[in-house]
Amino acid sequence: MPTVLIVDDALFMRTTLKKVLTDAGFSVVGEAENGEVAVTRFQELRPDVVMMDITMPVMDGLSALKEIKKMVPDAVVIMCTALGQESSVMDALKSGAKDYIIKPFKPEKIAEAVRKASSKD
């Protein structure tokens, strides 16, 4: 069962993502409320997939993505954010994000993205 780390400053979003992913059969092994905590949790937990928000206090998700990819180049990170402008999408994908989901989202889209991203094929 793929393990997932959820990173979002909003309690509501962490709760929603945890329920969606748990219902879809994934194991949520940790949560982080900003990018800095996410980098630490990633080092501790080494999850299969990271669901990463962008707009967060302390350290934003794009900076955290770059830190994580510097540590583990094949880390699987999916951005999940309200920001849909091309510059943000391109920055995330160039920095190594596996997928980019724009809020509000349909639950099945989250499960499908994690399933696809964690697939070894």
């Binding site: 979003m13 849909g84 091309e86």
Partner: protein, 169 residues
């Protein structure tokens, strides 16, 4: 403030609320509000930085906020607790993020700050410029979209945080 800056926020508000409520809100009359105004019972404040800077403030009654949080969380009998506050703040984040995308498509690059939620009526908010206001009428009640943006001077793209004063009810 240029009037066209509020249009992406209204379009985004209608789209995001429609996806949450499964019914389309109606927009009301555009109005101008002074740079200092008082809040409704629940207000979400989001900073905007980049080519334009300032704030977007989404105001609503506690009843409306609670109904929206319940719809977002799929919890029918919800009280306005920490989870509900977070849900309503996330609503402001989603509307502002969508608006930033629409602004970008019009050639205006911006970023948004994490949302701050103010609970309590008659709290005074001061923004850098007078705000344009458009009410959205939803099945859950009225939501006011206040947008106070000005074009950023070159090399000066950091939005000032709004000054909030007064006592929360």
């Amino acid at each position: 403030m240029r009037a066209e800056f509020i249009n992406p926020f209204v379009t985004a508000g209608i789209a995001v609320l429609e996806s949450i409520m499964a019914s389309r809100p109606d927009s009301g009359q555009l109005a101008v509000r002074s740079a200092t105004f008082t809040t409704q019972q629940v207000s979400i404040v989001i900073g905007v930085t980049g080519a334009v800077e300032g704030q977007a403030v989404y105001g609503m009654s506690l009843v409306t906020a609670t109904k929206i949080a319940a719809a977002m969380s799929s919890i029918p009998a919800m009280t306005f607790d920490e989870l509900a506050s977070s849900a309503v703040a996330e609503l402001g984040n989603m509307i502002s993020g969508h608006a930033a995308t629409l602004l970008s498509q019009a050639g205006v690059e911006t970023m948004i700050t994490p949302p701050a939620l103010i609970r309590g009526a008659n709290v005074e908010i001061s923004t850098a410029t007078p705000a344009l206001v458009v009410p959205l009428y939803t099945d859950f009640g009225k939501i006011e979209i206040n947008v106070a943006l000005k074009e950023a001077p070159a090399k000066l793209t950091q939005a000032a945080a709004p000054i909030v004063s007064g006592s929360a009810a």
